[in-house]
C-alpha cells in the first residue's frame, strides 16, 4: 500500500430500500397517463448502491434533495420512486384523485391550466391534468405522487440507469403509470421532515431541498482528488479561479465543463480506478467531467477533485451554458 486518500462519496448516505413506498408488488390504487413525456422523463428513486463492484452504477435521482422533498410533501418515504424531468417538464393525466408534489427546477406548474405552487402538496382530482412546464432556471423537476410510482424494480430499484440500460425505459406518450398504495402503515410511514445527508441537503438553496437559483455563476465546493498532484501550479490556479461553462453534452452520467484548459504536468492515462459521485476527471484536452448518478463504476482519466455532496443539487440543476466556478474546501 503506498497511499490512501479520501474523497467525497456517493449522493446517498442511507442504505437503499429503507421504507420504500412501492415496489410494483404493492396494489396499485390509482394511475397516471403520460400526456406529454417531455424531452427525457424517467422514474428515479435512491438507485442501486452497493453493486458497484459488479459494474452496476449507483443511479437514482440526480437531485436527491429535490426527490426527498417531493416525497415528503406527497406523504411518501423519502426513497419512493418519483419522476425526473429534463428541461421541458412533463404533463400527467391523473385517472384517480391523488396528492402530488413538484420540486426541483424553477418551472411553471399548472393543474388544469391553473397555476399551482411548486414545493407544496397539490390535491389532484380524478381526470385533472398536472403540467410541469419548461424549466426557467435549473434542469430537472421532480414529481412525486402519494403512494409512489409503481414500476417494476431491477436490482432493488425503480431507477432508470441511462449508462447501463437498467430499469424502465424513459416515459412515452400515452403510457400508463401505476401508483402504489398510499402509505399509512407503520412500515411505510412518511419520512419525518428533517434534512437527510446527501447532495443539496445543505446548499443550492433551501436546506429542505427546494432548488433556489444562484444569482451569479454556480459555485461548486470541491475537495482535492487523488490525482490533484498532476496539476501544474497554473492548472491549480485555473481550477480554483476560472469560470467554466456547462456543455450541451451534459447528462445524467456527467456534467461536462468547458473553459480555459486546466494544465496538467503529465497526460498519461491511469489503470482504471473506482469512481465516486462527484469525481472530477481532467480530460487530455483540458476540459472537465464531473460524474453524476449514472456514472461508470471505474474510469482511467485522472480525478483531480471531488465535488462535495453539498453541491449535488447545483450539479443536477446546472443547465447547458451556465457558468460554474469551484471553491476548494479541505486542505490540499
Amino acid at each position: 500500500m503506498t497511499q490512501a486518500s479520501g474523497g467525497a462519496g456517493g449522493p446517498e448516505a442511507q442504505p437503499s430500500g429503507a421504507g420504500r413506498a412501492s415496489g410494483g408488488a404493492g396494489q396499485a390504487e390509482a394511475s397516471v397517463r403520460v400526456e406529454r413525456p417531455g424531452a427525457l422523463t424517467t422514474v428515479q428513486d435512491a438507485g442501486r448502491p452497493g453493486l458497484a463492484h459488479l459494474g452496476v452504477p449507483r443511479s437514482g435521482a440526480l437531485d436527491p434533495a429535490a426527490r426527498r422533498l417531493a416525497n415528503r410533501l406527497a406523504g411518501n418515504p423519502a426513497d419512493a420512486p418519483v419522476l425526473e424531468t429534463t428541461l421541458t417538464g412533463v404533463a400527467l393525466r391523473f385517472l384517480g384523485a391523488a396528492t402530488a408534489a413538484v420540486t426541483g427546477a424553477v418551472a411553471p406548474v399548472r393543474l388544469d391550466g391553473e397555476p399551482v405552487s411548486r414545493g407544496e402538496p397539490v390535491q389532484v382530482g380524478a381526470g385533472q391534468l398536472l403540467d410541469v412546464g419548461r424549466a426557467r432556471d435549473g434542469v430537472r423537476s421532480y414529481v412525486a405522487v402519494c403512494g409512489g410510482f409503481a414500476v417494476p424494480q431491477v436490482l432493488g430499484s425503480a431507477s432508470t440507469d441511462l449508462l447501463s440500460g437498467l430499469g424502465p425505459a424513459p416515459l412515452t406518450v400515452g403510457q400508463l403509470l401505476a401508483v402504489g398504495a398510499v402509505p399509512g402503515t407503520a412500515a411505510a410511514a412518511p419520512e419525518p421532515a428533517r434534512p437527510a445527508p446527501g447532495p443539496g441537503s445543505a446548499a443550492g438553496g433551501g436546506s429542505l431541498g427546494l432548488y433556489v437559483p444562484s444569482a451569479g455563476p454556480v459555485e461548486l465546493p470541491i475537495h482535492p482528488g487523488p490525482r490533484h498532484d498532476r496539476l501544474t501550479p497554473a492548472g491549480r490556479a485555473t481550477l480554483a479561479g476560472a469560470e467554466f461553462t456547462v456543455a450541451i453534452a451534459s447528462n445524467r452520467i456527467a456534467l461536462r465543463l468547458h473553459g480555459q484548459g486546466v494544465e496538467q504536468a503529465s497526460r498519461g492515462e491511469l489503470p482504471s480506478e473506482g469512481i465516486v459521485w462527484g469525481a472530477m476527471q481532467l480530460l487530455p484536452d483540458g476540459n472537465l467531467v464531473v460524474f453524476l448518478a449514472d456514472h461508470p463504476t471505474t474510469g482511467g482519466y485522472p480525478v483531480i477533485a471531488v465535488v462535495d455532496q453539498a453541491g449535488g443539487s447545483a450539479c443536477a440543476q446546472a443547465a447547458p451554458g451556465a457558468a460554474v466556478r469551484f471553491r476548494m474546501i479541505g486542505g490540499e
Partner: protein
C-alpha cells in the same frame, strides 16, 4: 481529501487481491458498517460510504495483510467453443496453432480481479505475461453476448451485446449477467473460473 471515500493505491494486482480479501473478511465481521461500495481495480481499491476517511486511511495503513493466498471456494466452469474471429490472430501472437491456443486458454485457472466496463463484466486474471496480447487496433461496434476475449493479461466474457476492443477467441452459453437473479453477476471479485473447451 473529502469526507466519505478513500482510494487506496497499491503496488500491483496481487496486492489489490490480498487487501480486497482482507477488507471482505473484516466486513463480514462487521467492520466499517457504513461502507456502501468497495470497488477493486487494477492498482487501487475504492471504499465509498465511510464516515471518517482520515481514520479509515490510517487504519488501513496499520493492517498486516496476508498475501493473496490460494483462493478458496467454488470454481465456476465456463463451457467455451473456441471459434472466435480473433483466435487465429491470437494464436499467431502466441506462435502456436489455433487448437493449441485454445488448449492453453482452457488450461488455466483464473480469478476475478475486478468488474467494470458494464454490469457483470469481470476482468479475469491468470493469463501469464508471455500470453499477453494487445487490444484490437480499433474496437468492434458490436460484440455478441457470451463472447470470450483476451486483452493484456486479462480474459473476460461479454455479459451483454456491446462495443468491445478485446480479441475474441471464443464464445460461451454461460449467462454471466441476469438482473433478475440475486446475485445478478455470475462472476464477482474473488471468484475462480475455468474455461472448458466443449470441442475436446
Amino acid at each position: 481529501m473529502g469526507p466519505s471515500a478513500v482510494l487506496v493505491e497499491l503496488d500491483d494486482l496481487d496486492a489489490v487481491l490480498a487487501l480486497h480479501a482482507e477488507i471482505e473478511r473484516r466486513r463480514a465481521r462487521g467492520w466499517a458498517p457504513s461502507l456502501i461500495d468497495v470497488i477493486p481495480a487494477a492498482r487501487t481499491i475504492l471504499l465509498d460510504g465511510i464516515t471518517d476517511s482520515g481514520a479509515i486511511a490510517a487504519e488501513l495503513r496499520g493492517w498486516d495483510v496476508p498475501p493473496a493466498a490460494e483462493p478458496v471456494g467454488p470454481v465456476v466452469d465456463i463451457p467455451c467453443r473456441y471459434d472466435g474471429e480473433d483466435l487465429a490472430a491470437v494464436a499467431a501472437l502466441w506462435r502456436v496453432s489455433e487448437r493449441e491456443a485454445a488448449r492453453r486458454h482452457a488450461s488455466g485457472t483464473y480469478r476475478v480481479a475486478f468488474c467494470g466496463f458494464a454490469p457483470g463484466f469481470a476482468y479475469l486474471t491468470g493469463l501469464s505475461e508471455q500470453l499477453a496480447v494487445p487490444r484490437r487496433p480499433s474496437p468492434r461496434t458490436a460484440v455478441p453476448a457470451g463472447s470470450v476475449g483476451v486483452a493484456g493479461t486479462f480474459t473476460g466474457i461479454y455479459p451483454r451485446p456491446s462495443p468491445g476492443g478485446w480479441q475474441i477467441i471464443g464464445r460461451t452459453d454461460a449467462v454471466t449477467w441476469d438482473a433478475s437473479q440475486d446475485p445478478p453477476a455470475l462472476l464477482a471479485p474473488g471468484t475462480r473460473v475455468r474455461f472448458v473447451d466443449v470441442d475436446r
